[in-house]
Symmetry: C3
Subunit: 342 residues, 3 copies
């Protein structure tokens, strides 16, 4: 990504920070025009900006077409990624006999690894994780504290799962038995493909039969519920508290806003964008952007919202206007009736 | 449940699977008409169907009035339920002196059982569970990894709780003290009745006074929040991410869709069905089906939705129609005025 | 708070309970007029009521202007707060060398404390907690079982966090890299100020840069998701399942109802009240009360709701009324046309 320096190219940078918090030894950035005013007051030694920003005073700038990507590169270069503690295989971990573990295992205290598990190279299991029987973890898997992997789950390589997330619990599958509910054994599994990252305290149901699949490269935030038998295509990006009911199929490159949900058995096409809090009750074609409850095309949803949620609130006003029309029409009717009498 | 075999009664079945994934040694099923086309392409040795399905080609069928119940029975018969690891009382568990534990205890590593706890027969506590002081667990309770039971909670028999769920934390109870909040001690408790199953990473508040109760046979999915002093009748069926605020009373056989919520102190009658994402703000009579935010009778909600969320979008259109009426009426008014002048 | 006794001042109280559950040795209370009928049937020895309540029969009353505060004081006086188990530093905890721990440490089994952590006096860490490297915990911090504190987090004094909550995980920060997502290292931190209480199974993201801050005295319920870089002012009161996207700024004394959410980069003023299930998409001025999705002023929202969700459902009816107007106007138009022909 081409980056052009304006100002002093010898500026020394020790850290990256926000415009409001940066010290004179730190690099700031402007990726959201909302914060442009902060250029006037920041103490940052230099600022990453896009090609159009005009700063209110002379300052050292790094100009680029994609400031968010540039700031990421700067953070990677200057700060790097998390450094994990080094436990080896901690004596306070419980690893069943016969478990296969690759090179450079880093397994913290109070981790339990059940029988017949196979673990790849360079895996980091933070304290309190529980790996169920016959699960498979690929290379470079990182599980943060208290992650639970139920039996027979498969995690690809470069998978990272944050604390408290649960993979492979039974879904809500019961057959009616009079007023009672008879449990459906969940003999299916979960497959998490390579390069997936999942946030904290999520829940990914195992399938009743077959597999629940989180496709390669997907990024899920926190407190997300994925139902049994869901299949998510590659590169998903889900904000916190999203919920997918059972047997939902999601295409590639799908984004879901916070607290959005999809009812069971629905199919979402590739490159779909689902707005925050949307409630999807029907299949969605590829590339659509949907909003609302039930969700509809965003362009239609905005027309409805402009009637209800935008000032002036046309919907209550409409009621008044129809009342006025009715009154006026009644008058006209009366006058026509009386003129007919004349 | 009467099941009739059509085709080859000597067909051998080794496993149960979905229509798309079944091999020629597996039993498939069709319980949702959405998937009927898959009958044409499945490789399944035989398929469970209802009495009305007409397959597009000759195949071995098991016909029944309730295919979902039949497939469940087949899975139970062929695959059975989860087999737990066998830990006995693992040496890496910490059980306080004086705890009473029944027969066949199966307690994994890193489980903590506090003082004065009483545990029944055939209990399975997976790794990392924490059982608070003076709690009671009935027979055949299964707690998956990292379940937390706060002090003085009561779980009946045949209760199963999935990983990471927390039972008995304090609710959101504070008295105002100027701008600050003064905490209300939560001296009430939680009672989970027999045959309840709760999903992963749920939270069930203890009552401030009295009890929070999850009634017999209830089935709750994942990431569900139950507030302090809630009382849920028997056989509840709650989809993921449901939330009940404090002191809600729920009748028997109530179903709640995903991400639905109920505000505090509301009473929901028996056999009520609450739609996904509904926001219930008032009492609901028995047997009603409610939808929307705030939730209203589904039949009314659908009428509103047909004005807003269904094509053509009548609400924006209505605005145009009223504008047209106003213009036309203005013309008529003018013409009447001018004819009066004549 | 002045409290006046009516009836027998020698009444002996052994416990506090609800009106329906109180025995003749217990104190009941009426803080919500919804339950006033229960005065007629309660067995309570005495009842806390406000100054206006007229009981249906003679009973011993404690009258006060603020019954909820009075009942809290009674519970504190009679029952007190939770008594924790006493572990000292349990031999089954793993505390790294060099960790600094204050007086009266009470650390349960299977707790992990990483390097360079500093812990104050009178701290209680329940079983299974994990305290990441270089974190700081103030005096009188209580962490319930399986709480996870990621590295470099800061908790003030008198902080209480319920079971399963995760503090300091990475947020959903990725830069696009073609169709893939390139992770943004989260080098920022979390600061939880004094006297904050957080419920069970919440998730508080660390900032990408800078800090995520939960202000002094805030009270958060369960299953709440706080995004990276959020800043919450003092005395927040959030009901369960609230979600704040990244970089949201919340003023002082803000209340949020259950399942409410705020999109990224929004600013909420002091003393704002956000209704249950509201979806806030724009800045909110101080002292406003907002509702709906997208959220608008409550007074406007109620006008819209009265058109859609209240009986009679004026919106579907409006459609009928406009149809009738259109038909009638067509008739008038025809009659004018025909009279013009005359």
């Amino acid at each position: 990504m081409p980056t052009v320096i304006e100002g002093d190219p010898a500026t020394r940078i020790e850290a990256v920070s926000t415009l409001t918090e940066a010290t004179p030894k730190e690099l700031g950035f402007l990726a959201n025009p909302r914060y442009e005013k902060q250029l006037g007051t920041t103490r940052a030694a230099a600022v990453i900006v896009d090609n159009d920003v005009e700063p209110p005073r002379p300052m050292t700038l790094l100009r680029t077409a994609q400031p968010y990507c540039a700031i990421r590169e700067a953070v990677v270069m200057i700060h790097g990624f998390r450094r994990h503690p080094e436990w080896g295989i901690h004596p306070n971990a419980t690893v069943s006999p016969g478990v296969k573990i690759g090179k450079n295992a880093n397994i913290g205290p109070y981790v339990t690894v059940a029988e017949d598990v196979v673990i790849g190279d360079d895996v980091v299991l933070y304290p309190g994780c529980s790996i169920g029987q016959a699960s498979r973890l690929g290379d470079k898997v990182t599980l943060h504290p208290n992650v639970v992997i139920y039996a027979e789950s498969t995690l690809g390589s470069h998978v990272e799962i944050h604390a408290g997330t649960v993979i492979g619990e039974d879904g809500l599958g019961y057959a009616p038995d009079g007023e009672k509910w008879a449990k459906f054994p969940h003999v299916g599994r979960v497959i998490i493909e390579d390069h997936v990252e999942i946030g904290a305290n999520c829940t990914i149901d195992r399938a009743m039969l077959g597999n629940t699949v989180i496709g390669r490269g997907g990024k899920l935030s926190n407190l997300i519920a994925i139902g049994h038998g869901v299949n998510i295509g590659a590169n998903a990006m889900f904000v916190a508290q999203v919920g997918l009911a059972g047997s939902v199929t999601i295409g590639r490159n799908v984004k879901m806003g916070g607290q959005a949900g999809v009812i069971g058995h629905v199919t979402i096409g590739d490159n779909v964008n689902i707005g925050a809090k949307a409630g999807v009750a029907h299949d969605v074609d590829p590339k659509e952007y949907v909003l609302g409850q039930p969700a509809i095309k965003a362009s239609d949803a905005w027309r409805v919202i402009s009637m209800t949620q935008k000032l002036p609130h046309k919907l209550p006003e409409l009621n008044q206007r129809v009342k006025a029309l009715e009154a006026e029409l009644a008058e006209i009717r009366d006058s026509i009736a009386s003129s007919a009498v004349d």
